[in-house]
Symmetry: C2
Subunit: 323 residues, 2 copies
C-alpha cells in the first residue's frame, strides 16, 4: 500500500475570497458534498471573518452547519480571532484553522494587530477550546495554527525563516494540534521550501504539518514536490486553482487540486481521491462562476497514458460480489 | 559567483512546429538575435526536416545562415537524419542536435525507422562530421544525441529506463558530444526525472547532458527542479511556452523560458539572461502569432519583490566609471 498524502480542499474558503460572484450557501455546501464524494477527507468550508471584510462569507454559519450536517469529512473553517473561533465551534465544526502572518506588516494590514498580539489571541482560542473540552459529552475541537506569508510578503519582501520557526514553536507550546505553513503570495521556491519545511518538521515532532501553496509565480507544484521531499504529507489546494492574488491580476491562485493529486500520485503516493469526480465538480463550479479564471492542466490535457488511477480502477470494480 | 545553469531557447524550432502562422525567415532570425541580446547562449534556430513534413521549416537553410551571420551565440538545429545534418553543416551551423525516439513505436511513426536504425544513422553523421574535421581550416561541428520520449510515449505508454540508458551509452560510444534527454509528451514526473537523470549523468561522465521538458501536464518546472537536484545544468525552453502537443489540444507546450529562468535563479543559480529583454521578445512574438496560446506566470504576475535580478542590477550600473 502506498503512503497517503492528504489533499485538503480550500476552494470554498480561499478560492472564493476574491471572486466577484456571490455563491449561495447551498452551492458551497454542494461543493463540500461533491468533494467528500470524490474522496476528499477535509474541506475548509468557509471563513469566520466579519462580513463587512469579506461579504462572500456572510453565510459562514449556515455553510458550516450545512457542511457538518453532510458528514463524512472533516469540515474546518478559517478564523482570524477568538470571536471567529467561537462562531465556528458554535456552528458545530470540529476543526478551526487560525491564521496569523509571519510578516508583521502583513499581519497589521490584515487584522490590525502585531504578530505577537495575534499569538496571544491564539492562546485565548486554545483556552476556550480547552474549557469546552471539560464537558465529556462534547467532541474535542482540533485547532490548527496557520502561518501566512511564511515564504515572503508583498509588503515587506523577505520573511526571516527563524521568525517563522519561532512562531511554529510558540503555536505548539500554546497547544496547537497542527501547523499550516502558508505561502500566501506565492513567493516560495523549492530550495526555500525544502529548507524551511525540514526545520519546521523537526520542530513539530509528531504534530501534523500541512503546506498551503499558491501558484502565483508558477512554482506551486515544484514547491509541493520539495515539501514532500522534506517530509510534508498534507497540502491545501482548490479545485480549478481558484483564488487569484489581488496584487497580481491575472495570476494563478491556490495550487490546483486536480493537478496536485496527479503530481502526488505520479510520485507514488496515494490520495484516495477520484480525479474524474473532481473534474465533474470543477465543471459544476465553472458553471456557477462564469468569467472567473480556472487553471490546471489535467482538466485541459487529461492524464498521461502511463498514469495509473489505482483508486478509480478499484472503484470500477463492483462493490459487492454478484454471484 | 553562483553556478551557471544554461537555458537554451528552442522556440524557433520546437515552439513553431505546430503553429498555424508561417513566420518569415527574417522574423525567426530576429527571434534569435533578440534572444542573444537578452543573454541566451544557445538557440535551436530551425529543423532540417523535409519541408513536406513541416512546412514551417522550408526556410531552414536561410534561417540557419542568417543566425550564423548574427554571431554571438551557438546556433544549433534539429536534424532527423544524415541529409539534415549535411544541410545544417553546409548552412554554417556549428552544432547539430540529432534526435531519435526511445519508444520504438514513436520512432517508427516519426521517421519510419526502428530506434536501432536511427542509432546506426547517427554513426553516419558522426563519420561525416569527423571527415570534415580532418580539414584543419574548418571548425569542428558539435553533435548532440537527443533521446525523445525518454519519460513515456503517447503511443506505447511506458518507456523502459534501461532502454533510455542503453541509447545514451550507444550515443556516447559512437561519439556524441552531448546528450539531450527529452520528455517529448510531458509524461515525466519529478521522481522519475531524478532517478533517470542521475543514472544518465553517471553514464555520461564529463559529457554535457541537457534536459528538454514539456509542460503538458503541469509538471515542467517540478521536473526542472528534480533534474537540477540530479545534477543537470542545461535546459531547453521556449519563450512564451510555445509548442503545444498535437495529442493534447489546449495543453501547454515547452517549458516557458521566462519562468524557467525565474525558477533557476530563485534556486540560487545564475543564467546570465535578462528577463525583461525576454519579456520584450515575448511581446514581439505574440504580435507575430495572434491566436496562439502563450503560457507562463512571469509575463502575467511579474516577479516577486524578493526576487533579486542580479544580472539586471549589474547591467544598470554604468559600464565605465564616469569620473
Amino acid at each position: 500500500m502506498a503512503e497517503r498524502i492528504h489533499i485538503r480542499e480550500v476552494g470554498p474558503r480561499d478560492g472564493l475570497q476574491l471572486v466577484a460572484t456571490m455563491l449561495t450557501a447551498e452551492q458551497k455546501i454542494e461543493w463540500c458534498g461533491r468533494a467528500r464524494d470524490a474522496g476528499i477527507e477535509e474541506v475548509e468550508v468557509t471563513s469566520f471573518v466579519p462580513p463587512s471584510v469579506v461579504p462572500q462569507f456572510a453565510d459562514a454559519g449556515e455553510v458550516a452547519r450545512g457542511a457538518v450536517a453532510l458528514g463524512g469529512f472533516v469540515a474546518a473553517a478559517l478564523v482570524p480571532n477568538l470571536k471567529g473561533a467561537q462562531r465556528a465551534i458554535e456552528a458545530g465544526l470540529s476543526k478551526v484553522n487560525y491564521v496569523l502572518s509571519a510578516s508583521e506588516a502583513h499581519n497589521l494590514a490584515n487584522v490590525r494587530r502585531t504578530t505577537q498580539q495575534s499569538i496571544d489571541n491564539f492562546k485565548d482560542i486554545i483556552d476556550y477550546r480547552n474549557d469546552l473540552a471539560k464537558d465529556p459529552s462534547k467532541r474535542r475541537v482540533v485547532i490548527a495554527g496557520g502561518i501566512a506569508t511564511s515564504f515572503g510578503c508583498t509588503i515587506s519582501g523577505d520573511v526571516d525563516e527563524t521568525r517563522v520557526l519561532k512562531i511554529a514553536a510558540q503555536y505548539l507550546e500554546i497547544g496547537a494540534d497542527e501547523l499550516i505553513v502558508a505561502d500566501t503570495v506565492g513567493y516560495g521556491n523549492p530550495a526555500q521550501v525544502r529548507r524551511l519545511m525540514s526545520a519546521i518538521l523537526r520542530e513539530a515532532g509528531s504534530a501534523p504539518v500541512a503546506c498551503h501553496f499558491h501558484d502565483t509565480y508558477g512554482l506551486g507544484l515544484a514547491n509541493v514536490t520539495a515539501a514532500i521531499d522534506a517530509g510534508v504529507r498534507a497540502f491545501d489546494s482548490a479545485v480549478g486553482g481558484l483564488g487569484g492574488c489581488p496584487f497580481a491580476p491575472g495570476a494563478s491562485g491556490n495550487i490546483n487540486t486536480e493537478d496536485t493529486i496527479y503530481l502526488v500520485e505520479s510520485l507514488g503516493f496515494e490520495t484516495g481521491i477520484d480525479i474524474a469526480a473532481l473534474l465533474e465538480l470543477r465543471r459544476v463550479i465553472e458553471s456557477w462562476l462564469p468569467g472567473e479564471r480556472f487553471t490546471g492542466t489535467v482538466a485541459k490535457a487529461g492524464l498521461p497514458k502511463t498514469f495509473r488511477r489505482i483508486l478509480n480502477d478499484d472503484r470500477q470494480q463492483p462493490r459487492q460480489a454478484t454471484t
